[in-house]
């Protein structure tokens, strides 16, 4: 192939890559397409800086107990005797903790009328029913994931969740009442970065809603793996401390 011919082929190839309107055929970002695997993004090169979390203020009956609990956790951790958690006992994380556990990925699947979130750690599943009315808080049986309904507000998926059981671990170890309402706003800030702004509104426990934002990076080729917690060698001793089981052979 002569140089002139090669140059002609190259020009034709470039032309073929354009539409009849002269625009590039580069993939159009789909701001409402969240389907894919995502991993928590916490800083690092190129990571966006999500807004800082809002301050946490609890109503008086709950504030003292929450502060005492956190102080006990800190003291135990300092001594090298961390207190057991639902996580250390291989129980589900539930909402909202499941939305970011260490750097484990999660998969989002969009199907007609539903968005499904499957986490890798503990294989937890939550289903978000689109464009359906939410029930009253006393109509939803308490559970780890509650009942979630969602709708699109522009290019932001807004999800509202109620029905989180009292024993489910809260953000920053916060307690919650049956009135807890979690509102999430999921937005693609770039085609490969997703942000989830989470607002916890609990008029019984919180002075005012608490808001924090999680970020995720898309993992295009990642294959989610199974995670069945069937060999938990961390156990809880009589003092409530989590310890590792050491074998003798």
């Amino acid at each position: 192939m002569t140089r002139r011919f090669a140059a002609t082929v190259a020009v034709l190839a470039i032309a073929a890559g354009s539409t009849s309107f002269g625009q590039s055929k580069a993939p159009v970002p789909e701001p409402r397409n969240l389907t894919g695997v995502w991993e928590p993004l916490r800083g690092g090169p190129g990571a966006p800086a999500p807004p800082p979390p809002s301050p946490i203020t609890l109503k008086p009956p709950y504030a003292a107990a929450w502060q005492a609990r956190r102080a006990a956790q800190d003291e135990a951790t300092k001594k090298g005797e961390p207190l057991a958690t639902l996580g250390s006992e291989c129980m589900p994380y539930g909402m909202p903790t499941m939305m970011a556990v260490a750097n484990y990925p999660m998969e989002i699947l969009q199907t007609p009328g539903q968005v499904t979130v499957v986490t890798e750690v503990h294989s937890e599943v939550r289903r978000v029913f689109l464009d359906r009315p939410q029930l009253k808080t006393d109509e939803v049986p308490p559970g780890y994931y509650g009942r979630s309904v969602g709708r699109w507000d522009g290019d932001t998926l807004v999800i509202e969740t109620i029905g989180i059981a009292p024993q489910v671990a809260g953000y920053q170890s916060l307690p919650h009442s049956p009135e807890l309402r979690i509102t999430e706003r999921l937005t693609l800030t770039t085609p490969d970065v997703l942000q989830d702004q989470i607002m916890l509104d609990d008029p019984v426990v919180l002075d005012k809603p608490v808001t924090y934002t999680l970020a995720y990076r898309r993992l295009p080729k990642y294959e989610m793996v199974e995670f069945v917690c069937d060999n938990n060698r961390e156990y809880t001793d009589e003092k409530g401390v989590v310890r590792m089981k050491v074998l003798d052979k």
Binding site: T77, A100, A102, N103, R233, E234, V246, L247
Partner: protein, 139 residues
């Protein structure tokens, strides 16, 4: 494959990643506070069992002592998910294999620890969810 010694920045970054993962107050299976985050212990011995399981992978090792008595150690690693993302395979360690493990030992004195770096019988190294980290700093 490039020698690790040609990638000092990558090595430092991997250490930073470990520190970030351990030191950051994010939700995880359990706190790492039960392990000594500063001091490390090196054990060399024979693998008796390799558990590629959740929530953690474990390597069981018989470690011969100076007096000829064998002391058994349990070494905890991350989960299979975390490890395989950093290049591990479920078949990387075999019972009967001689290994050297640098661990952050349990603070309660029992013979167990969290893996820092593993050296397999063929001389290849593995990190614990990161690239193999550099030799620990002697304090």
């Amino acid at each position: 494959m490039r020698s690790l010694s040609t990638q000092p920045v990558a090595r430092l970054l991997s250490v930073a990643a470990v520190i970030l993962l351990v030191g950051r107050p994010v939700a995880g299976h359990h706190s790492f506070a039960m392990f000594d985050s500063v001091n490390k212990t090196t054990i060399t011995g024979t693998v008796t069992r390799f558990e590629w399981t959740n929530p953690h992978v474990f390597i069981e090792v018989d470690v011969p002592g100076a007096n000829g008595q064998v002391k058994h150690w349990s070494v905890e690693l991350g989960s299979p998910s975390i490890l395989q993302r950093s290049g591990w395979k479920f078949s990387d360690v075999k019972p009967g294999e001689k290994i050297t493990a640098i661990v952050n030992p349990l603070r309660d004195g029992r013979p167990g620890g969290m893996l820092y770096r593993l050296t397999l019988a063929d001389g290849s190294m593995r990190g614990n969810g990161t690239a193999p980290p550099p030799d620990p700093v002697t304090r």
